[in-house]
């Protein structure tokens, strides 16, 4: 069997297992951890998606926050149904990102990193200044409509999986190839007639849609949000999930989210300071785990896959991001 089909089969089975467990097996706490994993994975995948064009987008935090607030407004102020709130959140994130990207994606590398960081912090500041959305105290009472309440964790998982699948599909498409080309050498891409700025903005918009929905899911899972939830650290944690899970594949982002979220919950229960934990984890990862968990998993399962493999290896982000 070609590697692709095995992978997809495994993924489908795993997805079903998770869904089943979420709805029927997990208690309240278990469900809340699963939801946390889902939104973290979405933030991580969103960040990773922009890395396909070679940029580190700290503003992911801002779009995540914007999505959270927009969905909260939709639900709490206007009583709109959950799907509407989620889509509005995604669109809001995407729209703001287009405006942001139009200006800032003309820069690259360190400049883009810094300006996206500044944007994330400014967004948070703006959240604290708007009294209508609670300023520093934020918003409360963000609950999905009654009939959905029992299903909300499952819905979260379904939405997360759908978005992740969508991102993966785009990454593997010709558009994804163009993204990686931009990362490799954007002068060449320009020279063959592609408007690099527009393509980068498109990439950012898609990623920010996902981040926005992630924020919305977070808002409805947590039921309360405040500006402090949406500092640049959202992007840093997302980056930790990606780096530790492995940049080479979207599943790396998921694995990183799973691993660090669970570990984080455990350490928090021991009273450890979240910051030190994440900080230490990041530093350690950079020093000893260059390929992340996905890299380790890949190395372990390679003999098995070789036995099943009859198709040539496909390109991946990993190759494109190899130093």
């Amino acid at each position: 069997m070609p590697r692709n089909s095995v992978g997809m089969l495994v993924a489908a089975l795993a997805a079903l297992a998770v869904l089943g467990y979420t709805r029927f097996g997990a208690g309240d706490f278990g469900a809340s951890v699963i939801m946390l994993i889902c939104v973290n994975a979405l933030a991580a995948a969103s960040l990773r998606f922009v890395m396909l064009v070679g940029e580190l987008n700290v503003a992911t935090a801002a779009f995540y926050g914007i999505g959270a607030y927009v969905s909260a407004i939709a639900t709490v102020w206007y009583g709109l149904p959950l799907p509407v709130a989620l889509i509005a959140a995604g669109l809001a994130g995407a729209l703001v990102s287009v405006l942001f990207g139009y200006v800032t994606l003309r820069t690259k590398g360190a400049y883009f990193l810094l300006v996206s960081f500044a944007f994330a912090e400014v967004a948070r500041l703006v959240f604290t200044r708007i009294d209508a959305i609670g300023a520093n105290s934020g918003m409360t009472g963000i609950f999905p409509a009654e009939p959905l309440a029992l299903w909300y964790p499952t819905i979260t998982v379904v939405v997360a999986m759908a978005l992740l699948a969508g991102l993966y599909g785009l990454e593997r498409s010709t558009l994804g190839t163009v993204f990686r080309a931009i990362q490799n050498n954007d002068s060449v891409v320009q020279s063959v007639g592609l408007n690099v700025l527009v393509v980068k903005i498109l990439c950012l918009a898609v990623a920010s849609f996902v981040a926005g929905v992630g924020g919305a899911l977070h808002a409805h899972a947590n039921n309360v949000i405040s500006p402090g939830d949406f500092s640049f650290l959202v992007a840093v944690f997302a980056l930790a999930y990606v780096k530790i899970g492995g940049e080479g594949h979207i599943l790396g982002a998921v694995m990183g989210a799973v691993f660090l979220t669970v570990l984080g919950q455990y350490l928090i229960s021991l009273g450890a300071q979240e910051a030190i934990f994440f900080g230490g984890a990041l530093v350690l990862a950079m020093l000893i785990l260059p390929d992340g968990l996905y890299g380790i998993a890949e190395r372990l399962t390679r003999p098995l896959l070789r036995a099943l493999d009859r198709t040539p290896p496909e390109d991946s982000v990993k190759r494109s991001t190899a130093a």
Partner: protein, 247 residues
Amino acid sequence: MSAPTGTAAPVLTAQGLQRRFGGIMAVADVSFEIWPNEILGLIGPNGAGKSTIFNLLSGFYRPHNGRLRFFGEDITGRTPSQISRKGLVRTFQHDSLLRDMSVYDNILVATVSTVRDRQARHRRVEETADLLGLTDVLAELARNLPHGHQRMLGVAIALATRPKLLCLDECLTGLNLTEVGRALEIIRQIREEFGIAILFVEHNMRAVMQICDRIVVLHHGLLLAEGTPEEVSRDPKVLEAYLGSKR
């Protein structure tokens, strides 16, 4: 073979091009034309301004003075991707490839702006690779290719857009004698098959003399001489600029 005719319109007209960098006038006042179906060579000693001209034509630099016309249309100040879509496509002397991607993907990216259909893109990639002798290495990563193949890949990327004017920036550097011969053959084939004009910047004088219909000589940012290979190789100003050597 084509000589400039009075009736056909030029593919490209460069008029009074000027570009400064800080205090240095890289290109002072350069005017020339490229005619349909011709291979025009652009030569000159190091520092003459050849790369700058290339960047000006392809939109990577904006001229401080002067105009550029492509098939009569003013393209001065347009962006590289806009100019490329009009049909003026260039290769790069350094850093010319998508290094961590396969040969196939390298060429595929070049087809995106001109071909809509997935099947048609695939065909275009295969045809282009075939022409440039890259069919056997389609799955290889660009950075793993031997140097000769890398140079040809650079040409393939530009060619895959099916340009009307193909600008080759030192595509023969580092090639051995056999490879150069093959490359020149391929370039001739490209000109025959697609009926396009080619701008050929090179240091390899023998190759230039062999393949170009006309040559333009640049020196200190100015046009020194213009004419057939014969004429240029006898021009005393040119000989002086090169210290009397024609390699």
